[in-house]
């Protein structure tokens, strides 16, 4: 039984209307950010959602925590639909950690105040002393000393601040954490620390993760399953090992190949043509949205929109000409045993 169920979720955003549009009574255009996405995450597992910016990853993440209402379809967590009016207890079951810890925290307030807010709002602490104790406990959970409670965001580093946002999300004891690019703004060394922490917390607290990221290596390390999104649609979905090491969709291969390899002896893949503009809702153009950038496109791609189908057991791809790739992933060799990969 899956803890998180995303069923045919679609989200349309209303496009901007200029004054001229209003005067001419032009209807507002609709943009489809997420298009008919269905996913499942069993309890205790991690699903990574990967893709370029604008692919709808973050919108999907926001719908999972009930911050954005889906236009169609539903997100249920443990049988509770994450839309409409939710009770505080239902809201507590899922929390989000945002990409940029600097903008996620009020810089005028101390870290202790930031952590106290959800505790008080949900009535989880009786008095000042127990609040203080719970804050210390939360900080300890994410590997920070108790005295961090009196510091302000400007006094701590980016990696530490990201741990604070994780601690704040954990304050209400959620079962699910939606991590929206948790490591995007961090140095590689610090990245390793935050990823280690998240991995450990998941085991220790029995959490379920939805990891939204554009970093395939982070996804590969943390996730059990991976969904690749392109233009609001899931184009490939399956176990992390299968999707990233034996990608079937050309877009997945493209994402893997485009990353510059940290090894001058291996040349990165070719640069690609510009992405074609996003299509508005109701656009009846048929065919695959990835076709303009696809090297494998055949005639059928111009007329038929490929649906997600099973290409092998538990591996879905939305491409009629899917062929197993020969791209090496991860792109670099792991370090030798004598190399010290400790990071601080």
């Amino acid at each position: 039984m899956s803890l998180i169920r995303v069923e045919s979720v679609t989200k349309d955003f209303v496009g901007a209307r200029t004054v001229a549009d209003r005067l001419r009574r032009n209807p507002a255009s609709l943009m489809r950010a997420v298009d008919d996405v269905s996913l499942e995450v069993p309890s205790g597992q991690t699903l990574a959602v990967v893709g370029e910016s604008g692919s709808g990853k973050s919108t999907l993440a926001r719908m999972m925590v009930g911050l954005t209402e889906p236009s169609a379809g539903s997100v249920t967590i443990d049988g509770v639909a994450m839309s409409g009016r939710l009770t505080p207890a239902q809201r507590r079951s899922v929390q989000i950690v945002s990409q940029n810890p600097w903008s996620a925290l009020n810089r005028r307030r101390t870290i202790g105040q930031a952590l106290a807010l959800p505790l008080r709002a949900h009535g989880l602490v009786a008095d000042h002393a127990s609040c203080r104790a719970r804050i210390a406990e939360l900080l300890e959970t994410v590997g920070l000393r108790e005295d961090y409670a009196d510091r302000r965001p400007a006094d701590v580093s980016g990696g530490e601040l990201q741990r604070v946002t994780v601690a704040r999300a954990l304050a209400v004891e959620p079962r699910v954490l939606v991590l929206d690019e948790p490591t995007a703004s961090l140095d590689t060394g610090v990245k390793a620390v935050v990823v280690s922490l998240l991995t450990e917390l998941k085991e220790r607290l029995g959490l379920t993760y939805v990891l939204v990221t554009h970093e395939l290596d982070v996804a590969y390390y943390m996730a059990d399953s991976v969904a690749v999104m392109f233009r609001g649609r899931v184009v490939e979905y399956g176990a992390a090992e299968t999707v990233l090491r034996h990608a079937r969709h050309p877009y997945t291969s493209l994402l893997i190949e485009a990353r510059p390899v940290p090894d001058p002896a291996v040349r990165s893949g070719p640069a690609l043509p510009d992405p074609s503009p996003r299509r508005p809702v109701g656009d009846t153009t048929r065919g695959c949205t990835f076709r303009p950038r696809c090297a494998r496109a055949v005639d059928a791609c111009a007329t038929e929109r490929p649906e997600l189908r099973e290409v092998e057991a538990e591996h879905l791809a939305a491409c009629p000409v899917s062929a197993p790739t020969t791209i090496r992933f991860p792109r670099a060799q792991p370090p030798g045993p004598h190399e010290n990969s400790q990071c601080d």
């Binding site: 140095d187 610090v190 620390v193 290596d217 390390y221 990353r259 990165s268 640069a271 030798g336 601080d344």
Partner: protein, 347 residues
Amino acid sequence: MNPAVDAPEQARQAPNPPLLDIRNLQVRYRHNPDAHAAVHDVSFSLRRGEILGLVGESGSGKSTVLNAVLRLLPDGCRLSADRLEFEGIALAEQNPEAMRALRGRRMALVPQRPMTSLSPVIPLGRQLRRLAGPGIDDARLAELLRQVGLQAVAERLDGYSFQLSGGQLQRVLITVSALAAEPDLLLADEPTTTLDTTVQAQVLRLLLELRDRLGLGIVLVSHDLGVIAQTCDRVGVMHAGRIVELASVKDLFGDPQHPYTRRLLASVPERWERGRPLLPDTHRHRAPLRLLPLSPTGCAYLQRCPHASERCGVEAPELRPLKDAQVRCHHPGHAEPATTGKAEEQA
């Protein structure tokens, strides 16, 4: 993206004076007079047609070096250098007016965030003409943009910056600053950090193309070792304001000498192994080490170094030649100071 092309190769072999020559650059920020220099004893030179990468964590002084070259450091910053020359022009002695004549014309900066570097209320064409300098009209601008495959932008010069994607804007800025004013030196400060990887590949390709076509010298600041490996000829690794290793990209990645370089290379996410802990047990789940105040006499990397010896605590290593590279370490290579004759294997 293969950097090997004839023109820069010739430039590299010619005994010309370097395009950029820096010896013992020091930069101190005023608001923290007791602090150690933001940039300390940085020396490197750059030839025409060469791409030099500066890599390191945030706060290691990479961007400060670029700003020092452009003389764009904030007021009150103290800059000193034995030599800070661009084509024989001593940059530290130029008055503001002379610097303005150099900036944008002979040396250009590619900013980290193209979106915030352009005004959203002034039409793109007007801003780009100003950036390009006199003698460049819209037709010429459009032609330059078409040359690098930006037809879509060339047709929209009366539009605004927010109507373009980040990748398009970054390529527009690089193209206009590199092609219109035809500078000799391009300083790129994390030019692709905010871009998607697929778009990043396009921007890096454009940089290489312009280098090959114009023989530009490029200093590329990045914290991304993938970007460095795929574009640079030589790399300087920065730590605590110092260059700790300066080597060809092949040597640096193939045979790193400084312990910090080795750790940087080992920590890239591409090398993470699924199912294995990323950090040693002692390090996991602990607040990062606070660097103790640097001893004025010891090595700045002492606190984090697995090979530190007593000598490292009392004597700061100098940047010394080693093989074809330069390394700032008393115990370069894989040698453990405590053991002797230990088999040395390569990564």
